[in-house]
């Protein structure tokens, strides 16, 4: 039901592209009703997302964390878990990386930065492994518990940055202690996009290979497809589910760590900007395929990036990008019902009976 069991290549691609076009059409009709020229809006949407060097860089910067939070949905989904806790795992990743960064003060950056990223990933992994363990051993629904975990993570963040780890030198907004500036990671040479993009794309590629080409990935898909079959085959069901959840959590935690070491330099409520929820959207648009996550994250990142330009050109509210993203999400979900209905997409063997 989550759509992770099978990747039906061409059919999935056609349905998704079709759904995105339907969503764009619906959005165009909506903006026409508000008195704007839809084609002018489409053009600005494209220009704001991919039209100039600056807009492409913004799109890539926004897409990077979304790729990682999407993996927090995709990898557990392969094992049949619907995890929506990416937002919380990202927050925990940010907190973990700040604590590691402060603890490692004085260490050489070449050693400290990888450790900080690792600490963020580990914090996210543990955070998401807990709901998976509750599911395995207590039968607690993982979707509901990860939703609660998001709120708990944000409360924890607010608590820590407003007291225990607060940097009182920042009077305006409660902010944690900063990590030493030597540990910050810079931008990719020739682009003003931070290294998080490389981590995001690399994580998606690795996830694709692991889920597609390894015994572990195959075992996960058996578990996700049919729990009984997995038990009958003697697979270590609990260990597999926990590992899948932890890997997903690690990806989202890494996203939080990257936001700290590449953007903010400290943890604050600025970490909570909806990357986790955008990751859910991207995972479903990509139909739980890690390679498609890269493309879907670029699409969603591009839509978010063009929000500012839409605002300046047409005076549209900045929620315009959220509306379009919501339309795309709904259209993609609706298109699931068309699987197997489009005759020209069915494989030959299905027709020859």
């Amino acid at each position: 039901m989550i759509g992770a069991a099978v990747w039906r290549g061409p059919e999935a691609a056609v349905l998704t592209v079709g759904a995105v076009l339907v969503a764009l059409l619906a959005f165009g009709i909506f903006v026409a009703f508000t008195g704007l020229d839809p084609f002018a809006v489409y053009k600005v949407l494209y220009l704001g997302a991919f039209g100039s060097r600056f807009s492409i860089e913004t799109t890539l910067t926004l897409a990077a964390p979304i790729m990682l939070t999407a993996l927090c949905v995709v990898i557990p989904a392969r094992a049949g878990l619907l995890i929506i806790g990416g937002e919380g795992a990202l927050v925990l990743g940010g907190l973990g990386s700040v604590l590691a960064g402060v603890a490692l003060n004085g260490a050489p950056a070449s050693l400290a930065t990888p450790l900080i990223l690792l600490a963020g990933a580990a914090a996210g992994a543990i955070w998401i492994a807990i709901p998976a363990a509750l599911r395995q051993f207590r039968g607690v629904n993982e979707t509901i518990s990860t939703l609660l975990f998001n709120y708990i993570a944000i409360a924890l963040l607010n608590h820590l940055v407003s007291g225990p780890i607060r940097d009182y030198g920042q009077p305006l907004k409660p902010t944690s202690w900063p990590i030493p500036s030597a540990f910050m990671i810079g931008t990719i040479p020739g682009l003003s996009v931070h290294w998080g993009l490389v981590y995001g794309v690399a994580a998606c590629l690795v996830a694709f290979v692991v889920l597609r080409q390894t015994t572990f990935g195959f075992a996960l898909s058996i578990l996700g497809g049919n729990l009984r079959a997995a038990q009958m085959a003697g697979l270590p069901v609990a260990a597999l589910a926990l590992t899948a959840a932890a890997l997903g959590g690690a990806a989202a935690g890494l996203a939080g760590a990257v936001e700290v070491v590449a953007v903010h330099g400290a943890a604050s409520i600025s970490l909570v900007v909806g990357y986790g929820y955008a990751g859910i959207l991207v995972a479903f648009v990509a139909r739980q395929n890690p390679l498609a996550v890269v493309l879907a994250a670029l699409l969603v990142g591009g839509i978010s990036a063009s929000g500012g330009l839409l605002q300046r050109r047409f005076g549209m509210p900045d929620a315009a990008s959220t509306v379009l993203e919501g339309c795309i999400f709904l259209a993609v979900l609706g298109s699931n019902s068309l699987y197997g209905r489009l005759r020209f997409l069915q494989s030959r063997s299905a027709e020859v009976k």
Binding site: N141, N158, Y277, V323
Partner: protein
Amino acid sequence: MSVGGDIGVWSVLLAIVGSALRVSTPYLFVSLGETLTEKSGRINLGLEGTLMMGAMSGYAVALGTGSPWLGVLGAGVTGAAFGLLHAGLCSLPRVNDIAVGIALFIFGTGFAVYLGKPLVHPVAPRLPDIDLGFWSSLPSLRAALQVNALLIIGILLAPAMLWILHNTRWGLKLRTVGDSADAARALGYSINGVRATATAIGGFFAGVGGAFLSLYYPGAWTENLSSGQGLMAVTLVIFARWNPINCVFAALLFGGASALGPALQAVGITSNYYLYGAAPYVLTLVLLIRTSSTKHRLFGAPSELSINK
């Protein structure tokens, strides 16, 4: 013990009761709505979007007509439309209701903020107060007992809903669809039809809950109006064990818990402010852990609910 200390304690308690009564109303409406939807075997995780749409449209209608009660009605109708959208998508094959809920959460929030942009400055008429503390001469008590008619309507709705679920033909039909789709199909019921009705009514309630936010407390339309009351609906329903009467207590408890931090802050206890804010979520989690089992579904949960499978 000084007299001043006593008054301090009492005023904190009264402040908590007063703001619990105020804060709990949207919780009550979303949980009643979600209970009805889940009783039909479907889960709507998108009530946050519905709540925001209700708040925005309620404010707009009240502004346009000058009547806050027409605003409440408008909010309910908008919410019902969102419920029908959810039901329509979920009735398609291979469409996951939880995913549709998340999509409607994103879409509804964005849409409400988009359409509500011109509503940020104008002032719409507010829903009137009901002075339940008229018999008292203590100003703090009177302030605490100043409630809104919607709270009373919600509290009356709960037993009515329980009665309808257990004593009417439609209630039986709804529970049948929620507990065994196969049995309902064998009886010739339209499963999608029943679920669509339940989701639309659930959306209506959530929309009314939103109107409370924009038309009474806090009483204005802003982009950050909701603090996740809609997302909490699913949790509240689990907490209330799918029983409308329990929804009242769950809503009051959650309202009280979210009033705890601000009330303590008002008397100068500011440490751990945010941890108190997390109390409802931790409480629900503990409850879930204690009552869940790998052997059986949650006590009271409709069997067709996807979170049981």
